[in-house]
């Protein structure tokens, strides 16, 4: 079979382009937040996890310390550890392959692999999305960083508003149902209450503890909040939701 005829490769490529493109917003925001070109590239090359990267620069942009930024980024990366466990069980990489595979274990590669049922397709999907996003994300981070440097005053261009929208955009796909909304509201409230009392950056960690405690003590879906930023299978998912809805309606009748 030709590689491009594989459904998993096609999905992996399209998700690579959609996700890779928004590396441009990360690059521009990082440079607007005062990070130099190579610091910005270090995030995309070495950290390579969109949420954590935005979190680090978001904390620093708000006047937070390096240690608060590092902690927020590390906590936001915890879900990648869970993805690692899932991908290890699903793809069973042997020997040295685990090391490069771990680096590209992110929301989108995990979701692309999980959406396939054939083991070979799962593997193709994971690697296409993972490597594709890595390459494009880094290219567009560089473009964004250079463009950001050339822009001048970031506030004049509303780049602080871009950061607000970016975080909301990362949060949005995870708000499916009443419970995630309640968690988000509790975290937002905890943040607002904490802002006047603790140093900048720390309110984010307070909110993380509040949200973590809710997860620890309540009993809801175990995969709450584990959705990719860009959904590789939006049509199938909405069809599945529709089918779910239909069966509920039938049951109600």
């Amino acid at each position: 079979m030709k590689l491009l005829e594989s459904p998993a490769v096609k999905v992996g490529l399209s998700i690579s382009i959609a996700t890779g493109l928004y590396g441009i917003s990360f690059g521009a925001l990082a440079s607007a937040s005062g990070f130099n070109f190579w610091q910005t590239m270090a995030f995309s090359l070495l950290m390579f996890s969109g949420g954590s990267q935005f979190a680090f620069i978001g904390v620093v942009a708000g006047g937070g310390s390096g240690i608060a930024a590092m902690t927020a980024a590390a906590l936001l990366g915890l879900r990648n550890g869970i993805y690692g466990m899932q991908m290890n069980a699903l793809l069973r990489p042997g020997g040295w392959l685990k090391y490069p595979q771990a680096h590209i274990t992110i929301d989108e590669s995990t979701a692309t692999a999980s959406g396939q049922s054939d083991p070979d397709e799962q593997r193709r999907g994971f690697w296409t999305a993972g490597v594709g996003i890595f390459v494009l994300w880094n290219i567009f981070t560089a473009v964004g960083a250079l463009a950001g440097d050339a822009l001048g005053d970031p506030k004049q261009w509303g780049l602080d508003g871009a950061a607000v929208a970016a975080f909301l955009g990362l949060l949005w796909p995870r708000l499916k149902g009443r419970e995630p909304w309640a968690i988000a509201a509790a975290a937002a409230l905890a943040t607002i209450i904490a802002v006047p009392f603790v140093p900048a950056g720390v309110p984010i960690l307070v909110a993380a503890v509040v949200a973590g405690a809710i997860g620890w003590f309540s009993h809801g879906r175990s995969d709450e909040g584990m959705e990719p930023d860009v959904d590789p299978y939006p049509h199938e998912r909405s069809r599945a939701d529709q089918a779910d809805q239909d069966s509920k309606e039938r049951n109600a009748e």
């Binding site: 959609a18 610091q39 070495l46 869970i82 069980a89 509303g158 937002a188 709450e224």
Partner: protein
């Protein structure tokens, strides 16, 4: 403030977190509680980062053009705009409000 050390430590932690998933016994995967905490914490952190970037200014709260970006971003997301469009809409909203004189 030199941020290089914190950047590099954060990058190291990010990789070690991913890698650790490949070396823990599969039994841990069956711990729904750990999975839930990782998920709810993700929601909490992103919600908090949204709020901090929208209304925090150091240790005080400020209601300025960034609030307009929050509303505009939410409308764009509600209309199912892709991520990059949402970011551009947020930036344009803040820039326009500033042009109109709302800091």
């Amino acid at each position: 403030m030199n941020l290089w050390p914190w950047i590099l430590i954060a990058c190291g932690l990010a990789y070690l977190t991913k890698l650790s998933g490949y070396f823990v016994p599969a039994k841990l995967l069956r711990s729904p509680r750990m999975m839930r905490v990782a998920g709810t914490m993700t929601i909490g952190l992103l919600a908090s980062l949204t709020v901090v970037n929208a209304v925090a200014s150091g240790q005080s709260l400020a209601f300025d053009a960034r609030l307009g970006a929050l509303v505009a971003g939410a409308i764009a997301l509600w209309l199912r705009a892709p991520f990059l469009v949402v970011v551009i809409v947020g930036s344009a909203a803040a820039a326009c409000l500033r042009l109109l004189g709302w800091r």
